[in-house]
């Protein structure tokens, strides 16, 4: 879908991004992860040409983005930023309608689309349509930001630390909401983040960058279990596997089995809590319950491989 070929950005003698080769597959959420100053935001902004590369190419569906007008390119790519950047003089509906308006779509279609999107991001259209950005909380504002980016139904979504400015509670809720949205829409998402938990929680693939170069590209499992360098291992931390489990529900690991005599775990708890229960109870299997009903069994060995959002893209290497 999007291919970076020997992409480079140089400021004088220093390289912000150097010889970057990456393929972002269609329908996959890729996190551009790395410490600050590693070039991840520069990389993102070169994709929609907010920053012009000093070398290399960006291909969108095989077409060099340099052959397009920057405005045309950007209208076809959703854009979400940490500071949200809603237009304070326009109401929520007008904000969401920005790109459809730029594309000259009929107002009536756009109005319907705006309502759909507000519903999708969990805001009641009747309540929020006419509100001004100043009347929204941070979480609500970024929900509008996501709706605005999706308004023209772009196949690609660029997100620059989209949940970074929110308080932990709002961030968790919005991450969950976005995961559900992405599960349904299957956009090609490129998300810049410095938050390892966020990357592990949301991303199908992670491109870990360091000092302008790619340190490792792969599934979260690849990075956790097969780090390519000591930098990757250090950056993810020794507890990366636990963090990954924290982003999954116990229900994701359920398989049929005999629950007799096993300690129980609520299905909505995260998998790290499930592991904690196993350690406490000295058991390598738990009975998963939902509203008092046992739905299946969770095995310790299953926690070693974490199911992804888009399982079809992940080669099963562990057997």
């Amino acid at each position: 879908m999007i291919e970076l070929q020997a992409l480079q950005k140089r400021y004088g003698e220093t390289y912000a991004v150097r010889d970057l080769n990456l393929v972002f597959a269609e329908g996959v959420l890729t996190a551009l992860l790395g410490p600050s100053g590693c070039g991840k935001t520069t990389t993102l902004r070169m994709i929609n040409r907010l920053i012009e590369p000093t070398g290399g190419r960006v291909l969108l569906r095989g077409e060099d983005t340099h052959s397009l007008k920057p405005e045309t390119l950007r209208r076809g790519i959703g854009y979400v930023i940490q500071q949200i950047g809603l237009f304070p003089h326009l109401n929520v509906a007008q904000n969401v309608a920005t790109v459809p308006d730029l594309l000259g779509r009929p107002a009536r279609d756009t109005a319907r689309r705006v309502d759909e999107l507000l519903d999708l991001v969990g805001l009641n259209p009747d309540e929020y349509r006419h509100k001004k950005p100043a009347e929204l909380s941070g979480g609500q504002a970024q929900r509008v930001g996501v709706a605005r980016a999706l308004a023209a139904d772009p196949p690609v979504l660029l997100m620059d630390e989209p949940f970074g400015a929110l308080d932990p509670l709002a961030r968790d809720k919005l991450q969950d909401a976005f995961r559900e949205i992405q599960r349904g829409l299957k956009k090609t998402v490129i998300m810049v983040t410095h938050d390892i938990d966020e990357a592990l929680r949301l991303a199908d693939r992670i491109a870990l960058m360091n000092a302008g170069e790619l340190a490792q590209f792969g599934t979260p499992d690849d990075l956790i279990h097969r780090p390519a360098s000591s930098f990757v291992r250090q950056f993810l931390g020794e507890d990366a596997a636990l963090r990954q489990l924290a982003g999954r529900r116990a229900a994701d690991f359920v398989r049929p089995g005999d629950p007799a005599g096993l300690p129980t775990v609520e299905a909505h708890l995260n998998a790290r809590s499930a592991l904690g229960i196993m350690l406490r109870e000295g058991s390598d299997a738990l009975a998963v319950t939902e509203e008092g009903q046992v739905t299946g069994v969770l095995h310790w060995r299953d926690l070693q491989t974490v199911p992804r959002l888009s399982a079809e893209f992940i080669p099963d290497e562990r057997g």
């Binding site: 045309t72 950007r74 209208r75 930023i81 809603l86 237009f87 304070p88 003089h89 790109v99 930001g145």
Partner: protein, 249 residues
């Protein structure tokens, strides 16, 4: 009953009803009725007021016309200037413009008028020039301030969503800069009502005429007539322009 009280309380807090919009123009019109001002000023015993020729309403209209024309030209010059110097990578140009425009305010108006006479002759032309030079200051500096105050993240989002430079200007920057810009226009206009009285010395007419005549004839009542009317005109314009400035942002 209930619904009317709801609308009353829903009016933006802190924004009182702009009664000045009615009061000041009404007072101005009242004072323009022949005989009203002389009768009001008579008890003060400041001087004889004979019939005005040209009549006061005409002087007021001349004055208003001069100020309106100056404001129009100021907008035509000042807004594009403020826009031009706030584009990216034009910091040097912006500083130059602010300095030059600021110079207009430091030079006394009277000096500008006097300097313009040799070039433009007597009459309304040098006065108009003075008003434009003087009126540019608040419009350009407020325009620049308003455009620079536009939230950088809103502009980044606008660019990232594919707005052209022109669309960003028209859809994002100007609407957001408008309240500050309008405040500058208001200041400029109100100042110029006062400044325009000086123009009478150059034969521009307007409400400076009774003031100048009063000074030369040592007739304080005549000076007061010009002063009261130009003050009421300034207050009226201030109140009217205030209607346009959104204060709830």
């Amino acid at each position: 009953m209930t619904s009317s009280s709801v609308t009353a309380t829903r009016r933006v807090p802190g924004r009182r009803w702009p009664w000045g919009v009615l009061v000041w123009p009404a007072l101005l019109l009242l004072c323009l009725i022949p005989g009203v001002l002389p009768r009001l000023l008579a008890p003060l015993n400041l001087g004889e007021l004979t019939a005005f020729d040209p009549p006061l309403w005409r002087l007021t209209l001349t004055h208003l016309g001069l100020v309106a024309l100056a404001t129009g030209v100021v907008l035509l010059l000042g807004v594009p200037l403020a826009i031009a110097v706030t584009r990216p990578r034009r910091e040097a140009l912006r500083q130059l413009a602010e300095t030059l425009v600021g110079l207009g305010q430091t030079v006394p108006t009277f000096a500008i008028l006097a300097l313009a006479v040799p070039a433009l002759g007597f009459g309304w032309q040098p006065t108009l020039l003075g008003l434009i030079v003087y009126g540019l200051v608040p419009v350009v500096s407020n325009g620049i301030a308003g455009l620079l105050a536009v939230d950088a993240s809103a502009l980044d989002a606008a660019r990232g969503m594919g707005m052209t430079g022109r669309q960003r200007l028209l859809r994002v920057e100007l609407p957001l800069a408008l309240p500050i810009l309008l405040a500058g226009v208001r200041t400029s206009t109100v100042y110029n009502v006062g400044t325009a009285t000086v123009g009478a010395a150059l034969g521009a007419g307007g409400l400076g005429e009774p003031i100048i005549n009063g000074l030369s004839q040592q007739n304080t009542a005549l000076v007061l007539v010009g002063a009261v009317l130009s003050a009421l005109l300034a207050l009226s314009l201030d109140a009217l322009l205030g209607l346009f400035s959104p204060r709830n942002q």
